[in-house]
Structure formats: C-alpha cells, structure tokens
C-alpha cells in the first residue's frame, strides 16, 4: 500500500470511530440552512474535532494553523468524508471563501489573526454581498463605507447573510465612492460561473458602478451592526438581514485598496467554484443525490411492490442518473482543452444552471416516490426520513435563485456562451 492509500485507511478509520451520533433533530443541508442553536453547535463541534485531528486545512501553511501537506491528502480526506456521509462544516464562508482569499492576497497580520479561528470554527464568517433592493445585481451595491479618520463608517443593509447571528466576521462589499471616474474592470475579473454576480456586462455604462466598490473584513460585534433573522419558505431560519447604522470599523479592515472591491469579490467567487484550489477542504453540504433517491425508491411502495420495480419510476431514476453522470463527466471533460475548444466557457458558465435545476427536480421527484406520505412535513412522526425530502425540495430554491436565478443563468449562457443579443 502506498502512502496515500495508507492515509485513506487512516482517515476512514478515524471518521468511523469519531463521527458524532445522529442527533434527535434534523440536521441542516448546508451552512445556509443552520436555523437552530443545537444544529449550529453540533456542526461546529464536529468541525473543531476534525480540525484537531488534522484532517481540515491540511494544505494551509503551518504558520497559521494549517497542516502544510500536499493537496492530495486533503482530497482524500474530503472524499472519505463524502463516502462516509459525515456532517459538513458550518464555517463554509471562512473555509471556502474568506480563508483562501486571505491566504492569497491578505497581509501577514491578517493571516495570523484570521486563519486559525477559521479552521477551528471559533471564528465563524459570514458574507455581505447581496442587498435587499438589488436582487441579483451585485455591482449595484448601495451600502456606504465612508472614511472618517482611522475608521470607516458604514450605513446600509445586506441580505441573505448566512449564520449572521453566529458570525464574528463578515466579508463585506460596500461603496466607498458613489460617483467614481469611469473605468473598466479587467476581463480577468469576470465572473465565470458558480455563485457569480449576474450582470453579464463587465463594461460600458455599468463599469462606473464597479469602480466605487471596496472590500472589507469587518467584525460583526460592533455598535451599529444588527441582524434580523429571515424566515424561509420552509418555516426555518438560517439567513439574516444585516443592518449597518453608523457602524464604525477600523480602517485596517479594508482589504486591498479602495475601489478594488469588485475585483476582490470576483476573486472570492473563484474560490467558491473550487476551480482554483486553495480551499480548506471538507464538505459544504449534506450529500443528497440520485443514489439516495434510488435507495428511497427501494423503500417506497407502489401497487403492493417496491416502487423501484415500477417501469415509469425506473425510467425517471435512470434519467436523473444520466443527467448527474453527464454533469460529473462535464467536470472531467473540462480538464481537456482540446475537448472544449469550441466554447471553452460552456461548461463553467452552465454549471450552476445544470446542477441547481437538476437537484430541484430530483428532490421534487423524491416526494412523488413516497406516495401519500409525500404530503407530510418535518416534525410529523410518520414523515419519511423525518421530512428531509420535502425540506430539501423547498431549500433547493436557494440554489436555483441564490447567486443569480436560473433565468439569469440561462441569459448568461445564451449571451456569453452562444453570443445571442442582450434583452
């Protein structure tokens, strides 16, 4: 057995011996769905335990609390976590966005101050990009940050702040110059998939709006910052709206220079997509895919027989399998430029559209497998899997809407991949 295979066995053994017992409440599906304190503490304790065992942040520098090991080790550890279906880590914004960003372009002081807490879960991070009135149009952010001596004074509001009430820090996009000189962001800063801002227009009349944006790493526990929970369509909490009322933060919270906010936000989003590497590792959500739906079909009944024997259901299941496999294969094919030369952006720019819509339809289908029990909801004693499926279906809209709804994604594919005219 080579070193990596030995390591794989070591991780698997550790995970099996140390995985937390199944709680008596339904766990959230992702960091966006953490709605109760017991859910939060369960997940944070798990992150801390895995970090202390050395299986998280394995590639990050030892000077800041990381493991300093090659990427292959973290990839194996993460793959084993997925295989064994252990819980995800709640500090997703820190581990996948803020952390990699700080390691890439932060100052030495920022790295020493922020990275260890991100890994241990002691310092939960949240994200302040979207605003209540701007929808998908991130570039139109109106939250103001005005320099006043050694501070910035922040006014405005952000919305869809996951873990807003638990977070110690926020990555914040705010406007430092309401009327910047015309400029054009570099093409390299263009969003290219994932949870990207959705304007699809990187120049022309809108470019001025990008130029006045700045990027901050701010503390949440300061006077003038308050959060209000948002109740989702599931009835659960998980997001907050964050209000800034003359909130003062030190000028040292600015990342980069004033006016570089858009470029840094775009860089942040590239980490989310996972294309550029640098993430701490681990799972970001409860893995719930076609394999689980097939297993559900085995347990469900139709006309006195297992639902999986029903020809129509079999056809539907295989459709989802072919789609899911097609998307996995798209990721793989994307590694070969010669197989993507016609439209190199086609796979990355259609990624969110393909995956989020697939999941929404898959979970909707999972409800139909349950027969009459598909009508039950979380909390009902007879709900299949505790109501996991109907909750997953409703929460799936987080991905088909958040980060630019599917209809905007289809515009992006039509315009930027196929070259069709704008609306």
């Amino acid at each position: 057995m080579n070193e990596l295979e030995t390591f794989r066995q070591e991780v698997a053994d550790w995970l099996q011996a140390n995985r937390p017992p199944t709680p008596d409440f339904l766990l959230p599906e992702s960091f966006m769905e953490v709605g109760t304190d017991p859910q939060f503490h369960y997940l944070r304790d798990w992150q801390r335990k895995v970090y202390q065992a050395g299986y998280l942040g394995m590639t990050w520098p030892t000077a800041y609390g990381g493991g300093g090991r090659p990427q292959a080790f973290q990839d194996i550890a993460t793959a084993e976590m997925a295989r064994l279906k252990v819980p995800f880590f709640p500090n997703t914004i820190g581990l996948f966005w803020a952390g990699p960003l700080i390691l890439a372009i932060g100052t030495e002081e920022q790295k020493r101050r922020f990275i260890p807490g991100i890994l241990s879960g002691d310092d939960i991070w949240c994200q302040g990009f979207s605003e209540p009135d701007q929808g998908s149009d991130l570039a139109n952010a109106q939250t103001r940050a005005v320099r006043d001596g050694d501070d910035y004074v922040i006014n405005g509001a952000k919305i869809w702040t996951s873990l807003g009430s638990h977070a110690k820090y926020m990555i914040l996009l705010a406007r430092t110059d309401p009327q910047p000189a015309p400029g054009r962001p570099k093409a390299a800063d263009a969003p290219s998939g994932g949870r990207a801002p959705q304007s699809g227009d990187l120049g022309g009349s809108r470019s001025k709006r990008y130029a006045g944006l700045s990027y901050f790493l701010i503390p949440m526990q300061v006077p003038g910052i308050s959060t209000t929970p948002i109740r989702k369509l599931t009835g659960e909490f998980g997001f907050t709206q964050t209000f800034f009322d003359n909130a003062r933060v030190p000028a040292s919270c600015l990342m980069g220079k004033e006016g570089e906010g858009w470029a840094i936000a775009m860089k942040t989003l590239t980490f989310e997509r996972g294309a550029s590497g640098g993430q701490a590792g681990g799972l970001t959500r409860m893995a719930l895919g076609i394999g689980d739906v097939i297993e559900l079909a085995r347990r469900s009944r139709r006309n006195g027989r297992p639902a999986i024997d029903d020809p129509f259901i079999r056809d539907q299941l295989v459709r989802f399998q072919i789609e899911a496999q097609g998307d996995r294969l798209c990721n793989e094919r994307g590694r070969f430029p010669a197989l993507c030369s016609e439209r190199p952006d086609a796979i990355p720019l259609s990624n969110k559209l393909r995956l989020s819509e697939h999941n929404r339809r898959l979970y909707q289908f999972a409800l139909t497998l349950q027969g009459a029990n598909g009508a039950r909801w979380v909390g009902d004693a007879h709900a299949v899997d505790g109501g996991l499926w109907p909750r997953s279906y409703l929460n799936a809209f987080a991905s088909t809407i958040g980060g630019g709804p599917s209809q905007i994604q289809a515009n992006i594919v039509g315009e930027r991949v196929l070259g069709l005219p704008k609306d």
Binding site: Q325, R333, K422
Partner: protein, 389 residues
C-alpha cells in the same frame, strides 16, 4: 462548491495528442467538404454520397483506423472513430463510414481468420461494408431473429427478410444476422453476384442516408461463411457497441450543427424591432440546447475513453463501457431531437419549408434516435444494470 458526489460510475476521460490531431483534421475536412449546398445536392442522388470524397477519406486512413496493422489498418480502436463521426454529423456529411465501421467491428469480434484476412484489408482500403440486423417487427433485440439459415452439407441456405440495411446497395459485403438452429448467427455475404432485386431501396426519414431491404429467400453460400455460436454473439455485441458510439458521436455533432443554424438565425432575424435572439423565450431554450450538447459530448468522450481502454485491457472492461455507451446514446438521442425540433420552431414560417436546414437536422435526429434503440429503450436497459439491488 462541489462536494465529491458518490457514484459507483467511473468518470474517466482521456484524450491523447494523437486523438486531438485526428479531431482537428476531421473537423477541418468535414467543414470544407460538406457545406449545406453539397448536402442538398446529394439528397436526390442514388448513392447518396460522393465516391471521390470517399476515396479522400480512405486516403486519410479513417476507414482503417480500427483495423489492425497486419490487415493494413492503423491498429487503433473503435473509440478513436468518435472524433471522426462527430464532425461528420455536424456537417451532415453522407458516406458509408458508419456502415463500414459496424461491419469491421463485427468481423474483428467474431470473424474467422480467413474472413478477417479476406475483408479487413479491403475495407481499410476503401471497400464498403454494412450490417443487416433489423427485421420487420422493428424490435431492437438483435438476437430475436425471424430470418434464418439452414445448413445442408457444406452449403447454407438463407430465408426471410432484413430491413434498414444502411448503404446496402453500395456495400461489397454484408453481415447478415440469421437464426441457425435457434441461435443467432451472422452470414458474411458478398454482394457481388446477388440476383437483381435482392436489395430494394427503402424510403427513410433522413434523406442523406440510403437504406435497403434485403430479401434472403433462396440465397445460398458456403457454410464456412457463417459466424456461429459465441463468435456470433460477440460480433453482434461489438456491432451494437459501434452503433451506439457512432450514433451518439454523430448526434453530438448534429446538435452542434443545428445549434449553429439556430444561433445564426437568432442573431440575424428581427421581429418587433429587435433581434429575435434577444427574446428570452428563444434564448433560454437555446441555452438548454447547449446544455444538451455539453452533456452529450461529455458522455461520448467518456464512452470513447472506455472503449480505447478496453481495447488495451481486454473484454473484461467492456461492462463499464456498455453502461457508458447506453447513457451516451440516451442523452444524445433526446438532446438532438429536442435541439432540432426547437430549431424548426424558431425559424417560424421558414422553418416549415423544405429550404430551411433545420429540417435536415431534425430528420437526422429522427433517424439516429431509433437506430440501435431510442433513449427510452436505453434507459430501460440501463435500469436493469444500474438499479439491481
């Protein structure tokens, strides 16, 4: 944020520099030699293809790509033909390439030494071959056969009919499936000297293709011309694999081709003072066409990879390839029909005319969908393989 998805299915894709060069050459060749006017010019011709162009293709070595070097070929595998079939599909380039590749795979998997030595060098050198598998009931199960052979002494007599024999009239040799003592067999039937009327032209939806009905009653051939037993089953499976791969690759090209037609029209035509491509009602389905194209291409690249690997590793690796091939055919079949159906619709009144190229692609899609099993059939077969407890 992509967590590793748990799936027992491999996602292996390989693409060598050699394949990339072959692809570049095929893409350029098909674009140059098969513009729409040329395609339309061939629709009413008897043979349906240009003999001169077939000679050029032969000289490029494409016909012999999967033929072993000892028989005058390149010694590559079926997996390598995908990069040729895709641009052919994209430009609706009509040749007996696919028909011939199917027969080559059948001979390689089940043919005797003598049959291989007799036919493979000839096919690598520009000869044409095809397969006669389908029957009047339209069943996709290639082992349920009404046509049959009976052997008396050293001579086999054939009975029954085969249909949808592609390029039957121009083929030098046909691999004909028949029942022999209740089991599938393949007759290696040279066409030279067949009685006139043995092959009758059929009318099919894809006017770029030629199909024939083969009347077997009374035909005789030496008993050693029959491939029987396990060899026959192996040959049928090999032909089936080739059919799935080539149809899927051709469909991938077809989606790309019809998407070009659509995008060009949406960027040109105006209605109500705007380019029609600016309307989301057209733009969003166009995005769906692209998604179908990308997924299809990915499935095809994967299936081709597994076939290349299996050629090196032996037949044990083929079970994995069979799943990949059926997935590719299902995705390709449905995505191509969707794309070309929408292409007709998006051209409006022009789309309803014979002059609009969208119909060429829709007819091609409607030909490829049922060839070797439509998407629903593939899913049914996949369900048995993938959903077993």
């Amino acid at each position: 944020m992509s967590d590793p998805t748990l799936s027992p299915l491999s996602t292996r894709i390989n693409f060598s520099d050699e394949q990339a060069m072959l692809q570049d050459s095929a893409v350029a060749f098909c674009r140059e030699h098969s513009p729409s006017l040329t395609v339309r010019g061939l629709l009413t011709s008897e043979a349906g293809f240009d003999r001169g162009l077939w000679q050029e293709i032969t000289q490029l070595g494409w016909n012999g790509i999967a033929v072993p070097e000892r028989f005058g070929g390149s010694g590559l595998s079926l997996g390598h033909t995908a990069v040729i079939a895709e641009p052919m599909g994209r430009h609706l380039l009509a040749t007996p390439f696919a028909s011939t590749q199917l027969a080559i795979q059948g001979l390689l998997a089940g043919g005797s030494q003598a049959q291989q030595a007799a036919w493979l060098p000839r096919l690598a050198g520009g000869g044409i071959a095809s397969v006669a598998l389908f029957e009047d009931d339209g069943d996709w199960d290639l082992t349920r056969l009404q046509a049959r052979a009976s052997v008396v002494g050293g001579s086999a007599t054939l009975q029954g009919n085969k249909t949808l024999v592609t390029d039957g009239a121009v083929a030098d040799v046909l691999l004909v499936s028949v029942a022999l003592d209740g089991a599938p067999a393949l007759a290696v039937l040279p066409t030279a000297g067949l009685p006139s009327g043995t092959l009758q032209r059929e009318t099919i939806i894809d006017e770029t293709r030629r199909c024939h009905r083969l009347l077997l009653d009374g035909l005789t051939l030496p008993a050693e011309a029959l491939i029987t037993g396990d060899a026959a089953l192996a040959a049928l499976r090999a032909i089936h694999r080739a059919g799935l791969l080539l149809a899927s690759a051709e469909a991938a090209g077809g989606i790309a081709g019809v998407l070009d037609v659509v995008v060009d029209y949406l960027n040109t035509r105006s209605a109500f003072g705007r380019k029609i491509g600016s309307y989301q009602g057209l733009k969003h389905p166009a995005a769906d066409m692209l998604v179908g194209l990308e997924r299809t291409r990915s499935h095809v690249a994967h299936a081709a990879t597994l076939l290349v690997d299996a050629a090196d590793a032996g037949t044990g690796a083929l079970a994995e390839a069979d799943i990949a091939l059926r997935m590719a055919k299902a995705e390709a079949g449905d995505s191509f029909v969707f794309a070309s159906d929408r292409a007709v619709q998006f051209h409006g009144g022009f789309g309803f005319t014979y002059d609009c190229d969208a119909q060429l692609y829709l007819r091609r899609a409607l030909w490829l969908q049922p060839w070797f099993g439509d998407a629903a059939h593939q899913r049914q077969q996949l369900a048995d393989a993938l959903l077993a407890a």
